[in-house]
Amino acid sequence: MTKDPDPLDPNPEPANDLGETAYMVQQARAGDREAMNDLINRYKKPLERFMHARLSPAAHRVHDTQDGTQDVLIAAYSAVMSGRFQYRGLGSFWFYLRTSARNYIIKKNQRAGEKKMLELSEESGLAPAAAGEPPIASMIELEQMLQYERALETVPEDQRNAFLLFHEVGMSHANIAEECGFPSADAARMCIARVRAKVAIEMGRDDSKDARNKNSR
């Protein structure tokens, strides 16, 4: 596990940066609980934000974000320990977490929708028209969220994961370079810039034009 340097230790060990997910996964699997805790702590906050933004208010009532984060992390823990999660480098752990979180959110949002309908059928006169959209919808159209996810699917896995570490985890270029084996922070930055451009192009593609092109073929 990583240890914060003792400030008063005259010969402190070199501090570890973030580029050690693979090592921590390996340690966790070998039974080092603190390595697992450390690993989870690193991704807990971005995961919480990711889920809070996407869970609908109805789902929030059923399970709050922290419960959801906990559920996803527990599932990740068991996946790491059982070997179901295979570390494939380049931010694959974050990708695994966000995929689990998306599945969880879809399930919870669906269940909350069903529950609401049931309640409405019984006491429809009393139930207010709940705002059913997740918090992120106040800033971004949900359609754009879907376009974003679709755009990510068009990017090669290793590049996509590097981009997500920057875009969703907030990791610096230098740390991504270490984590993902880029020769320098600039190399990581260039890769991320290329992916960003590709995602922006995909998201900004005119669907009607695409449809026309398809029809003309």
């Binding site: 340097p5 230790d9 702590n41 800033m139 971004i140 922070a185 930055r189 922006a200 900004g204």
Partner: protein
Amino acid sequence: MSNDEKLAEVAEALAEGRDINLDQMESTGELTAKQVRALRALHVMHQIQVGEIALPGEAPVVGVMTTRFEEIRELAAREAFRTHICKDRLRERDVVVRRIDKSAFPSRGAMVRYVRDLQRLKQIDHPALARILEVEDCAGDVAGHVVRIVMERPSDVTIGDRIRAGKMFTSRQTARAARELGAALAHLESRGFAHHGISMNAIFYNSDAERFVAADYADPPPTKLLQPSAVCNLGNCIFTMLAGRPPGGADERAVSANAAVPPGVFRLIDRARGIEAPVIADCIQWDAEMAKLAAAGDSRAWFGGSTGILHAFSAPFHAIGKWMHR
């Protein structure tokens, strides 16, 4: 340039924190409405995810520097630099974070060279220097702060905290601070760096004032700084530790002399009339070897045996030296 290339260029510019008028690009037809919405969505998603903006129902983002660092208190602030004690939310630890604005650099090349120097500084390991834990070139930071240095936070209190609380340091503690920090400056010097920002607020000490650790160093460009300014600043700190006030404030002659000194030139210090001779005697007697060297006028003892630094020995230190064995 094709439309896609234009879109890629604008996406990159936004990520670097540059001001882009997307409405204008849409109205002039450079980008389509959908493309503009896509760019905005990407940018907002990033800001939400890294905690730069709070969503409804989420705790408001307080004192966010960029992604991870919650400001606890300010240590230093100048035009292009800001240093804070911060809580690193990602790694759950307290650190010293220095943000350097792009305006500190005359060119992009200068910034690149500076970051390269910082990577070298990261290797420096000295007990009286806070370790540099991370160096980040945050070109994508929307706040426009392009370089962030994360240092260890050696303890809870700085010399400045104690002085502001109306307390001073004993001569023994001061002598120890002078020796340890002087050795740290010499260590930096031997590797081609100077500590430009040494100040009361950047020197931490442990509970019994037996260990002193300097943080908040590495101003750009670290390799081209004048070492005398570092020594001068250390001299001022040491004076303050003993006197309980910064030099120059009490002596009328020094005040008028300092008023005439143009900015950037070392200022004179007063003769610390408030400090009693026995304190000075204690300070010298505490370390027999240092006393011998001080009496002989050789100030090397303050600097852990370094000689290079002596050529640049500054006026405040000379003044302190004279004052100590007058």
